[in-house]
Symmetry: C2
Subunit: 479 residues, 2 copies
């Protein structure tokens, strides 16, 4: 376990009053809704960014918005940090607690409240899993578009906190483009409704601001999300290339031509080998890079778009083109892609970076990524949302070797700086969390960060929500 990233020091006054605080909070909740025993707290000590872990003071598992509000109001008054938590699938450590914090787990807020097909939306509690929304409307021919690879487990509340994306977000946008409203508990326990079923909002677009605010502006308890009609048909097609550069240049030209497939996913050779070994997806093994391009619509529409893409791919020396011939084959292709992280975890420890770059920089950044990782003597597998310019290098290392773990983190930092220097961004969909917190000064000037922190203070004057995250610990002007 590496400890390159500092946490805020726990407040000794809170630790020493633990018993009294827990008794107070227990009074605000139903029986069995406050976890306090150390062995029961262990599952909450980290998330999918497993490099860091801290046992929290306690975990509250409220069942209603009002109970969430009561806990938040108490913690704000007492100055106790609050860590909102969905399913704990954050890849940037967004849900990792700290020793003096109360985790507010939303797992019991798991009801789909309303499906409103005439207005193409659903109202759900924030602990509902991503996939269950699509499942609830599947028979009616609708779906909820953002599809993180963790969609079987991750919750809509966490998706909103991190503005999550997924393979099909190239066409449909990420969470913020599919969110219509939230119900939210503010720092003082007041409950607000932001947005709703009708277009736009009077006054400021707080909804957009809330989406991606990483649990620092309040706790979301309900969400109204947009539903989309399922396409007539969909077809993933595999394009194999002799080099990563050629595949990257092909993506850039497809998008530059104004063609927007549903998805363009990229895998380099290590990723192809890892995923194929796991899923037997039928990926070609004699290529250096693979694009999974999904088109959708009627057969004629799919054929027309594919013809244009194939023409561009040919110009970039595509060596294999393989269309899925059945729903089973299509599902296998996606199973391989979506299990990339899990499959990688079987052969090595890894950290997954999440930088984005302008599309014209894809090939350059891929090349430099290999150089950086080689310099640290490590290996990398690249599997990512190429159409969005959202890169996911998986840096492989041995977590039992502290030196190697540190090298992996240093290589990751160098890669993210590379993305920013190429005109990109530290994070496309995983959030800043604790992982990228100290790189924010590489992305932003002091005036930019100061303004973000003033916004944070306007929502959370005592900075009790998820305080170790997003902003570097030094120079916190807003607090």
């Amino acid at each position: 376990m590496s400890e390159m990233i500092a946490f805020l020091k726990p407040d000794p006054a809170i630790l020493s009053r633990r018993a009294a605080i827990l008794a107070d909070i227990a009074d605000l909740l139903p029986d069995d809704a406050l976890v306090t025993e150390e062995r029961e707290l262990v599952p909450f000590e980290t998330d999918a960014f497993v490099s860091y872990r801290r046992l929290p003071l306690a975990v509250a598992l409220p069942e209603t918005t009002e109970q969430v509000a009561a806990v938040v109001r108490y913690c704000h008054r007492e100055g106790i940090p609050v860590i909102p938590r969905g399913a704990g699938t954050s890849l940037s450590g967004g849900a990792i607690p700290q020793e003096d914090a109360v985790v507010v787990g939303l797992s019991r807020l798991n009801r789909i409240i309303e499906v409103d097909l005439p207005n193409r939306c659903a109202v759900v509690q924030s602990g509902v899993t991503n996939i269950s929304i699509s499942q609830a409307v599947d028979a009616d021919g609708f779906f909820y578009a953002p599809d993180p690879s963790s969609q079987l487990a991750c919750t809509i509340g966490g998706n909103i906190g991190m503005n999550s994306g997924g393979a099909h977000c190239l066409k449909y946008g990420v969470t913020t483009n599919n969110l219509l409203g939230v119900r939210m508990v503010l720092f003082d326990g007041s409950i607000v409704e932001i947005g709703g079923k009708a277009l736009d909002a009077a006054g400021y677009d707080l909804l957009g601001l809330i989406c991606g605010s990483e649990g620092q502006l309040g706790i979301i308890t309900e969400a109204t999300v947009r539903l989309l009609a399922k396409p007539e048909g969909a077809r993933p097609v595999l394009f194999g290339f002799p080099t990563s550069e050629a595949a990257g240049a092909c993506v850039s030209e497809v998008i530059g031509a104004g063609i927007i497939p549903v998805a363009i996913e990229f895998m380099d050779k290590p990723a192809i080998e890892i995923c194929e070994a796991f899923a037997q997806a039928g990926y070609p093994m004699d290529v250096d890079a693979l694009l999974i391009v999904e088109v959708e619509g009627s057969d004629e529409e799919m054929d027309a778009m594919l013809a244009r893409i194939i023409e561009i791919a040919r110009r970039h020396g595509v060596s294999t083109i393989k269309e899925s011939q059945s729903a089973t084959e299509a599902a296998l292709i996606w199973k391989g892609r979506k299990s990339a992280f899990g499959a990688t975890g079987r052969i090595a420890d890894y950290i997954c970076m999440d930088g984005t770059v302008p599309l014209g920089q894809l090939s350059h950044v891929l090349r430099e990524t290999s150089v950086i990782v080689a310099r640290y003597g490590l290996r990398v597998a690249n599997v990512f949302h190429a159409g969005d310019g959202n890169m996911h290098p998986l840096i492989l290392f041995n977590a039992n070797d502290p030196e190697e773990a540190q090298k992996a983190e240093l290589a990751g930092n160098d890669i993210l700086k590379l993305c920013v220097d190429a005109g990109g961004c530290l994070t496309g969909e995983h959030g800043v969390g604790i992982e990228k917190r100290d790189l924010m000064t590489h992305q932003y000037a002091a005036a930019d960060l100061d303004q973000q922190m003033r916004v944070r203070s306007a929502f959370d004057p005592k900075w009790i929500f998820n305080p170790s995250k997003v902003f570097p610990l030094e120079g916190r002007s807003g607090k």
Copy 2:
């Protein structure tokens, strides 16, 4: 001229120091960049919401971001209100000044800085007109999607301030969905870059918050906007119905079925008559309501989508279906629609409401709107973005009759309350401005407004930017 809406009282200390203030500001600008003579200030005393007017202290016309910053820094220090202004086409009074304010006009920041087709974006100064972006990339087969009816005149800075929409936003989204980044001057004169060419932002989504903030969070001087590839073809089709209710129900069923044409525009009989008299667009005159539905893509795609829409329209008793047969006919159809406000202005004074409603409520709200307007003894024409649920009742009145002017405003207020009570929102694309400011308490609870005001204070601690707008003058907690 009605005076139902109050402005903030001008600060006598500022008025009495006018000469010294103007001399100070002149020193910060090039020659001829500060307008101070009363007759030259008259064009800036109102905007397209002509019911109210105030002469400003002066109008600054800076040529660079740095000059904007210098003026803002000075005004913040001295506590002088600042009113940002694009082309002055606001329909909600967003650009109307007040007597103690300096207007910062962005008309000289009118350069297209960069067209970046590989990354499908353009970087423009904020005083560039909406249409000129599409014109600059037309030959390359691209366009900028949001298309307000005022697009020949309105500026991208104003579009961002109001989160403007347009007829084609049903498919492509409004300004916030097509904006990638801004350069912006903050209250203290610091210059920040928010967003950019790559996906997403690390930290909070300030870009979404800025979009629609009505000039109250800073002054935008540059914008990076998304470009889209022009479709293969596009075809507007006219659907005439015997009643407004039938047309409204048809829209609701089309959208509810998950069909998203590029545009679904609605006109009732008065609007049809007014627009046809002006544009000779070929609208059917024997119907009570008209939908302009635009589909796009290949001929096969358009035919397929139209067939589904026609089937639904038949179920709702459509009486006329007329496809445009040529580019000229298509252009005429749109000319008629986009000139609706101008054409109405030829026959009467009018105020244009901008409420949105969930689609299931369209017919109900149309019916109640007629009842409300009739109660005040006035007439109404409805012409609006039906697919988005974004209604635009034009209330006709005689501005030379103060009593009738007041009735029009009262009817407008009742209509907006009706929209909110139907689950909708005060504004879809025109903004709150000064027009709807005092209705914000009908839309929001105190806790909601308090949080919006805390956000405002986090960007503008002295509330110098556009201070008479958006928030009711009473109960301004954040100030």
